[in-house]
């Protein structure tokens, strides 16, 4: 089956990102395909490229990137939710006249339409919220 995940919780504050990553590896191990993870609400903070968790904690940012590298899962971030929360990629930073950026590939800022698309495209969409 084709799966999509919707992640709404900030990393470490709630268990949402942990649960989503855990569920992702389990569904992949069962032979399903994970098309895309969409980040909304405080979930957009998962895309913060500078995350530096303690060595003895799971590195959630790296785990998302590994999901993309190994399985081609798209990591899409709601652009409206991200901009207000300061999660800008290089293009948006430029557009807003700011130097530096917080979000970079494999995470991409996209419209909410991609979440609606995802819901139509996949067999199962599972939400992990704070």
């Amino acid at each position: 089956m084709r799966y999509g995940l919707l992640v709404k919780g900030a990393p470490y504050s709630s268990q949402a990102a942990h649960s989503a990553l855990r569920f992702a590896s389990a569904l992949l191990a069962r032979g399903h395909r994970l098309e895309r993870v969409f980040f909304y609400h405080d979930g957009v903070f998962n895309a913060a490229r500078l995350a530096a968790p303690p060595q003895d904690e799971p590195h959630l940012y790296d785990a998302w990137c590994a999901l993309n590298a190994k399985h081609g899962t798209q990591l899409q971030v709601c652009i409206a939710a991200a901009l207000r929360r300061g999660m800008l990629d290089a293009r948006e930073a430029d557009r807003h006249g700011k130097s530096g950026h917080c979000v970079e590939p494999p995470f991409e800022l996209t419209g909410l339409g991609q979440l609606i698309d995802l819901g139509q495209e996949v067999d199962r969409l599972v939400t992990f919220a704070p």
């Binding site: 909304y40 609400h41 939710a81 419209g111 339409g113 609606i116 819901g119 969409l125 939400t127 919220a129």
Partner: protein, 125 residues
């Protein structure tokens, strides 16, 4: 007013949070508007604290936070006219149909499952 439940629809958005206290309500409404703009048939269900999204007389917050009342007014423009509200939550807040800013069909708890079964996809906010 309790009306028959529609049995079909692409997307059901369930709104359970009140205005101003968090961004859940606005983000749920935004998802509904985008889905409608993409041509999906969208139904809204206001339940629990979410029924307060329908309260009349909402205003901007003290810092100028605009809240969600203006977005509610845009629903019709996007052809989102299938609005339901949980009767038990209305009663819990002492609200009646005439207190609502938009017409929404009252739904008894037993009908919610039917509404959910009739939609291909459900998002909760």
């Amino acid at each position: 007013m309790t009306t028959p439940v529609p049995v079909e629809g692409d997307l059901l958005v369930i709104l359970r949070h009140s205005p101003h206290g968090s961004s859940w309500l606005r983000e749920g409404l935004d998802a509904a508007l985008v889905a409608a703009a993409f041509g999906q048939s969208v139904t809204l269900l206001f339940m629990a604290n979410g029924v307060l999204a329908l309260a009349k007389g909402q205003q901007a917050g003290p810092l100028g936070q605009k809240g969600t009342a203006a977005t509610m007014d845009m629903l019709a423009m996007y052809d989102i006219e299938s609005l339901f509200v949980a009767n038990d939550a209305l009663a819990e807040f002492g609200l009646a149909q005439q207190d609502l800013m938009l017409p929404a069909a009252g739904l008894e708890a037993e009908a919610i499952a039917e509404l959910m079964a009739g939609h291909r996809q459900i998002l909760t906010f």
